[in-house]
């Protein structure tokens, strides 16, 4: 028995834990052709916290997102975009 991944909430949950303004975190799912784009929006002051030095945090978020998508056998490509 395995649970189903919840990709938007996964990204939102981790992001809320990283930022100073968790109430400003939102994740919108935008369907583009055969790709789901997860648009992560955070407070302007928190951008660095979800991107990290040399993009380390953003890369880790994408790694975890891809692992979860693979786990859920989600056929649609899912990508993360970080917006202000």
């Amino acid at each position: 028995m395995s649970a189903t991944p919840n990709l938007p909430e996964l990204i939102a949950y981790i992001s809320r834990g990283l930022v100073d303004h968790p109430d400003q975190v939102s994740v919108e799912v935008v369907r583009e052709d055969r790709t789901d784009v997860l648009e992560l929006t955070v407070d302007r002051e928190d951008l660095g916290k979800v991107i990290g030095k040399q993009g380390r945090i953003a890369r880790a978020l994408r790694e975890v997102l891809n692992a979860a998508a693979t786990r859920g056998k989600i056929r649609t490509r899912t990508v993360l975009e970080i917006l202000e």
Partner: protein, 157 residues
């Protein structure tokens, strides 16, 4: 939330992240003096390791950032699955021994594949006391790799 210890918060964050990723795993805390280890146990959790531990490293970085947010000093946080960290260290030590022999035998600089800072450090420390070779890192970011450099007579520079 301020009343919870780092260990409790780390356990809570990782447990919720695993659930949202579609895993049913239990997170056990091992409190060490120099580190806090969060070990994942459960069905299929081996898939959480990823290529060369990439997924595990990503989880470790994110959970550590969530736990230490705003905190001044803290112990390193390690996320592990099924003893993977120890197994990987063993593989790295074996690779260090093999590649340093090769460097000494051929007199040539051996470039290892790009690795995380942790993995490079394990090999670097292992070879510090090995006569006939030194190590240095080259490249930036995710492409940073360790070079094993022979120092003995007849070594090509």
């Amino acid at each position: 939330m301020a009343d919870k210890t780092e260990a409790e918060r780390g356990q809570e964050y990782l447990t919720e992240i695993l659930k949202l990723m579609g895993y049913q795993g239990d997170v056990t805390v091992h409190e060490g003096e120099d580190r806090l280890t969060l070990e994942v146990k459960g069905e299929d959790v081996g898939q959480l390791i990823g290529r060369k531990g990439a997924t595990l490293d990503a989880l470790q970085l994110l959970v550590a950032k969530m736990v230490t947010k705003g905190a001044e000093t803290t112990r390193p946080i390690v996320v592990d699955v099924a003893g993977y960290r120890e197994q990987r260290n063993g593989e790295l030590l074996a690779m260090a021994a093999k590649k340093s022999d090769e460097a000494i035998k051929t007199g040539r600089v051996i470039a290892l594949e790009p690795m995380s800072a942790h993995d490079r450090r394990v090999i670097h420390v292992a070879l510090t006391d090995t006569p006939g070779v030194t190590t240095r890192s080259e490249g930036e970011g995710v492409n940073r790799r360790l070079m094993i450099v022979p120092t003995g007579p007849g070594a090509a520079s």
